[in-house]
Amino acid sequence: MSKFKKKKGGELPPVNTASLPDIVFMLLFFFMVATVLRKNDLKVLNQLPPADQIEKLDKSRTVFIYIGKPSDNYKGKSKEAIVQIGDRIVDVSEVKTAILQEVSTLRQELQSSAIVALKIDQDAEAGLVYDVKQELREANLPKIIFITTPNSAVE
């Protein structure tokens, strides 16, 4: 008879939390691996325009150019859009030398097929973009990609 004695009260047994650290560690390692710490400190405003005919970018052979108005922390003399390559703000006439220097930091075998990614603020002017493109033409870096946000361009 005593075998079938009912337990007193309806108390639930406590949930075993011993595996909680394991789960958390698993998540932690995922984010540690997936994290890319930002290489360049952005000195310009960078709100990208929308487009939908887009292709993916191969990161390993890419150098970045940022164009936009100077952000609040870096307000200099001008309110006009400026060009940032790597960590430096460069003049349009210096783009060629600066970008070639930036390309030389890539892996040797990728340098000949380097892609220039242009991250340009949506309020920038087409004239400046054209000037930068002319510099890239002279630097013999014909492959470019305009980074955009994936949205329809026609509203």
């Binding site: 998540l27 939908d52 292709e55 949506q122 087409a126 990609i145 980074i147």
Partner: protein, 205 residues
């Protein structure tokens, strides 16, 4: 001497430490997903090369002024109509059947005053210096879309799949099947409808 057992370390706070680290990485992580419009710049200008003569009818001129208005083939146009206009121009196939350069796959109106063949057709875009970059990208996007739509149509007809989808799959590295063969076919579509978008120097007004 009596053996003293070492006290057990309390691991209860381990989860807290791990959570702290987890939250730090959660906050700092930016999973990059850069995508954009790929373009090829022309080689540097060579003074010795004489520019080829292009027939006016093979040229599709898109102008953008500093108020971000479009002028396409001397007519004002809304941005939303640009894609179709470009497709109509590229797909025209103006050379009559039987003559050299006849476009056997074109479905356009075959007007003699528009482009001869997608292979010959060139889109020329020019903007003012003060044009917004947003508009510039939107125009580039629409013109690229016109080419993509035509390429999709032709690859659908020839091989039964869409050019842009297969190209995206190959770029992402998850194309199922023979990648080399597919690349060859993509190239075939590209020679059928080559991307010819030229950009003129922006005007100052």
């Amino acid at each position: 001497m009596a053996k003293r057992s070492a006290p057990e370390i309390n691991a209860g706070s381990m989860a807290d430490i791990a959570f702290l680290l987890l939250i730090f990485f959660l906050v700092t992580t930016t999973i990059d997903k850069d995508k954009g419009l790929v373009r090829q710049l022309p080689p540097p200008l060579d003074e010795n090369i004489v520019p080829p003569i292009i027939k006016q009818k093979n040229l599709f001129v898109v102008l953008v002024n500093s108020n971000n208005d479009l002028l396409v083939e001397d007519e004002p146009m809304e941005l939303k109509d640009l894609r179709q206009a470009a497709i109509d121009f590229l797909d025209n196939g103006g050379i009559p059947a039987g003559q050299e350069g006849y476009c056997d796959f074109c479905q356009g109106s075959r007007s003699p005053s528009s482009s001869d063949n997608p292979d010959k057709a060139i889109i020329s875009m020019s903007s003012a210096r003060k044009t917004d970059y947003t508009t510039y990208i939107a125009v580039q996007n629409e013109l690229g879309a016109a080419y993509n739509e035509l390429r999709d149509r032709e690859s659908q007809r020839l091989f039964g799949w869409k050019y842009t989808e297969v190209k995206a799959a190959i770029d992402a590295g998850n194309y199922e099947g023979n990648e080399e063969k597919a690349k060859e076919k993509l190239k075939q579509v590209r020679t059928l409808i080559p991307f010819k978008l030229s950009e003129a120097e922006p005007k100052s007004n």
